[in-house]
């Protein structure tokens, strides 16, 4: 079946099996920044943004994305031109193995697009669906706070 999406600002048509999960389609099509950590929607490493909301791509069928707008980590910034959030995550030491990082950064992006000056509770709630086993979350929380500060002063 054909699936029409706007992905990272580009209109594309993908062919997918009816039972195929969006994560599998994305990875097959080269969007490798979405990672597979559990396949049950519990770890958030496969998160992408669909119509402005954070979605675990392992939980939905590719067909459910038809007609929608998808943003993956690849569109947030690059190594040479990183987004403030990406740069801040690195500066704050919030990246260790980096496997959960794309999901964390997308969760942060969705939060900061809505809330310019989020409370600690809002930050924790926004990132509560993204598991990290390396950092202990301390530096991730700092990175979100710092990102918000920097984005406000832009």
């Amino acid at each position: 079946m054909d699936i029409k999406v706007t992905i990272n600002g580009v209109k594309k048509v993908f062919n997918a099996d009816p039972g195929e999960k969006l994560l599998d389609l994305l990875r097959r099509e080269g969007y490798k920044g979405a990672k597979r950590g559990c396949s049950t929607g519990d770890c958030g490493s496969c998160a992408v943004i669909i119509n402005g909301k954070l979605v675990n791509s392992c939980l939905i069928f590719a067909g459910q994305a038809d007609g929608h707008t998808i943003t993956t980590i690849e569109a947030i910034g690059t190594v040479n031109e990183p987004h403030i959030i990406q740069r801040t995550f690195v500066e704050e030491g919030a990246v260790q193995c980096g496997f959960c990082t794309p999901g964390m950064i997308l969760a942060t992006k969705v939060l900061l697009d809505k809330e310019k000056d989020p409370t600690l509770t809002q930050i924790r709630e926004a990132l509560s669906g993204n598991l990290c086993r390396c950092t202990g979350y301390v530096k991730i929380e700092n990175a979100v706070i710092r990102s918000a500060e920097k984005m406000r002063s832009e």
Binding site: G33, C43, G98, C134, G136
Partner: protein, 763 residues
């Protein structure tokens, strides 16, 4: 003092990871890739009477089915340790017997995962169920079934008693010392199963390169051990195998195991096609785990609080196979007992087989389990002595220039090496915690009332830095035309930041900046040997190799510069990638020097491969001071404050070092308070998902205060010791001590979930 180390340089692969780019195992596409799935044992202990795979083999899309009948039978250990591994050779690619629920019975390689899973349903296996051993207590009872009754395994201490390993080490006369002591304590606990849960589960892809050699791209901490163990199990020469470690999505010890790569290699050997094995999260939970341990500690002291005797008895549960069976158990003694200066010490350890999931290396490596008991026993002793528990630690803990007979008596699976403490900030850490938590205001539990009760607890710890005289690391450095350097290391960055830390060490040694270092790790064809990332060794041992290599390369740079600047080597000053002649002030950049050496005169490649081992394993030290709230209606424990001070020598990269401690502490808190395995009566793990096995998320973390205390370890690179493991040891004993201080109950089983705390309070 330092220009590159001891500064929080940005993680060298950080931006690439943040951009979703740095390549993990599964981020490369392979044509004709086969997906491998396992058929797993439904029984905890059974003989396979027959296996019929014909229908599976005939299923369209299936390309290979392997099982005990058509694969080599090579006894080996999956413990990715140095050769010869100190773990029993009791594991086979497949066996005629299954020893835990989940033990691989067969593997199917097919075009898709769905086809492989369908084909597995067509395999007919006839089992003869055997009585299963499902607890430490049952493992060595008379008449229990023997789990490893096969004839060709070896290195098992006493198979009739299901004993994988055993040790009994005595220093002085503990029995007499205990009998002579005015105050004694005997305390016993049992720690629990838990899993590392790296967010990237185990994964590997094997394929044949253009010359027909087998390449294994794998999420591992030990690429060189993967090559050696796969060569053995696949009956191939090591020269025909290349192991590549790309970016790794966390390991914490579980990727020190070599148990998937050879299945993928076997499929590629048979089919000529690339083969991928990716564990599901459920499979990850029964892949490798932390050794649960029954730990008993006896302490004897005089009225002044000076310890006369320390005895530790450990029974460790290695599950169905003896991966790290001996060494994790040894470390419960060797990493705990030297902390206190008693003259009479005994360590009696056994590791038993059970028909439960296989244990292995896990951050903390036995020390976590040992301290869970020892540091509670110290508090009990303090109470008996009517002495402040902080004071009891202060007068007994090991200090600078002191030694412990345990260092020499007990190593990793064998005798250790004698060593003296040359760097420690433990005394300062204890003072910091005492003050920060207002320890002098601590009231006993008998003075506490009300529904919510607060309690304070503390504990102290040490770990090691690599395995002395065993762990070897090497590094190669060469200069490029522009004066940059390639640094190739076998050291394995699995997310820890070692690529960054090692680049900083190289830059410091080479009198250049970290951004001039291009690091590559780790690949058995391309990088020199390193034992891998375990035993808290990378910064200390691999860092040592990088430092000596950098220093040798610097000598060559100096020699060429002297030639170019027409002065003696002694007259050359090297700083910030520039050589200056002290004679006339003329300068040459490292780029000029590299081009001169490569193209102009007496041409040669400036470069060197250096190696390093250490005769000692200097311990990092840690003190934990915590305040908790216990809800006496629900049994729930809340952390109010968790202060953790760590002495890791020179922190090569303070921000990354803090991150190691924070990660280890939160992993430990989760282990202490929420993580645990639920087994059914037949030994099947029932909660293998993140929904049913709770690891901490960001909302669970509160009150952390982590502080690094700087010391200078003379044997370490630029004064560094290890940092990555020690933090996980803290939560169980510190919180258990705080629990007692709050409500007067002692936790002897874990995790300390609300229902258990309520149960303790009701007794």
């Amino acid at each position: 003092m330092f220009k590159e180390v001891n500064h929080s340089r940005l993680k060298v692969d950080g931006l690439s990871l943040a951009a979703g780019k740095a390549l993990f195992v599964d981020d490369m596409d392979f044509r004709e890739l086969l997906i491998v799935k396992f058929m797993k044992s439904p029984h905890a202990h059974a003989e396979i009477l027959s296996i019929d795979t014909s229908a599976a083999e005939a299923f369209p899309g299936v390309h290979a089915v392997i099982h005990h009948g058509n694969t080599p039978r090579i006894p080996h250990t999956t413990a990715g340790q140095g050769h010869p591994e100190p773990s029993p050779y009791d594991t086979y690619m497949f066996d005629k017997k299954v020893r835990y629920v989940g033990d691989p019975v067969a593997a199917v390689a097919a075009d898709t995962a769905e086809i492989a899973l369908e084909a597995i349903k067509l395999i007919k296996v006839e089992y003869k169920e055997l009585e299963a051993v499902l607890s430490i207590a049952d493992a060595s009872k008379p008449g229990v079934p023997v789990i490893h009754d096969e004839e060709d395994s070896f290195g098992i201490y006493d198979r009739e008693k299901n004993l994988a390993g055993h040790v009994d080490v005595k220093v002085g006369d503990v029995e007499k010392a205990l009998a002579d002591s005015e105050f004694t304590v005997e305390y016993e606990i049992e720690t629990h199963y838990s899993q590392h849960t790296p967010i990237e589960p185990h994964i590997c892809i094997s394929y044949l390169e253009e010359k027909g050699r087998l390449v294994i791209r794998t999420s591992t901490q030990v690429p060189f051990h993967v090559r050696r163990i796969c060569a053995k199990v696949l009956e191939m020469p090591e020269k025909n195998i290349r192991v590549v470690k790309p970016r790794i999505g966390g390991g914490f010890g579980t990727k020190q195991e070599v148990y998937l790569e050879y299945y993928a290699g076997m499929i590629t050997k048979l089919t000529g096609r690339p083969a991928k094995i990716e564990l599901t999260r459920e499979e990850e939970f029964i892949s490798r785990t932390r050794h649960p341990m029954a730990v008993k500690v006896k302490l004897g002291a005089n009225g002044d609080g000076m310890l006369n005797a320390v005895e530790m008895d450990v029974i460790s549960n290695t599950g169905a196979y003896g991966s790290h069976a001996l060494t994790v158990m040894f470390n419960a003694g060797s990493k705990c007992l030297p902390l206190y200066g008693a003259k009479n010490v005994r360590f009696n350890g056994s590791t038993v087989y059970t028909n439960l999931p296989v244990a292995g290396a896990y951050r903390g490596y036995g020390a976590t389990q040992g301290y869970a008991c020892l540091e509670q026993a110290m508090d009990i002793l303090a109470e008996k002595l009517k002495m402040c528990p902080v004071q009891l630690r202060k007068i007994n803990h090991i200090k600078k220039d002191e030694t412990s007979p345990i260092f020499a008596a007990l190593g990793e699976g064998k005798e250790g090496v004698p060593q003296f403490i040359k760097s420690t900030a433990l005394s300062e850490i204890i003072e910091w915690g005492e003050e920060g938590l207002n320890w002098s205001d601590t009231k006993p539990h008998t003075e506490k009332t009300g529904r919510i009760r607060r309690g304070k607890g503390m504990a102290i710890f040490m770990q090691g830095s690599g395995i002395p005289l065993v762990d070897m690391a090497s590094a190669s450095i060469k200069i490029n035309d522009d004066g940059s350097f390639n640094l190739n290391v076998g050291a394995t960055d699995l997310g820890t930041g070692s690529d960054t830390v090692l680049s900083q060490i190289a830059a410091e040694a080479l009198e250049t900046t970290t951004d001039n270092i291009i690091i590559y790790s780790s690949d058995t064809d391309m990088t020199p040997f390193d034992v891998g990332a375990y035993a808290s060794s990378t910064t200390y041992i691999s860092g040592g190799a990088v430092k000596v290599t950098g220093e040798e390369v610097l000598k060559q740079i100096r020699m060429v510069a002297a030639d170019m600047l027409k002065c003696s080597r002694e007259e050359i000053e090297l700083k910030n990638s520039i050589a200056t002649s002290k004679k006339d002030g003329k300068t040459k950049t490292y780029g000029d020097i590299a081009k001169y050496a490569l193209y102009i005169n007496n041409q040669f490649q400036i470069g060197y491969i250096g190696s390093h081992i250490s005769p000692v394993s200097p311990p990092p030290f840690m003190g934990v001071f915590t305040e908790i709230e216990v809800d006496t209606w629900t049994g729930k424990i809340e952390i109010i404050k968790y202060m953790c001070g760590v002495d890791c020598g020179t922190a090569i990269n303070p921000k990354l070092a803090e991150g190691q401690v924070e990660g280890a502490v939160v992993n430990g808190l989760s282990y202490a308070l929420t993580e645990g395995y639920l087994f059914n009566k037949k030994g099947k793990m029932m909660n293998g998902s993140f929904q049913d096995y709770k690891i901490y998320n960001i909302e669970d973390v509160q009150g952390l205060e982590i502080k690094l205390f700087s010391t200078f370890e003379p044997s370490g690179p630029f004064g560094a010791k290890s940092v990555s493991e020690i933090g996980i040891n803290g939560p169980i004993p510190a919180i258990a001590n705080a629990l007692y201080n709050a409500v007067g109950v002692r936790a002897v089983r874990f995790p300390m979930k609300p229902e258990y705390i309520l149960e303790l309070m009701e007794k």
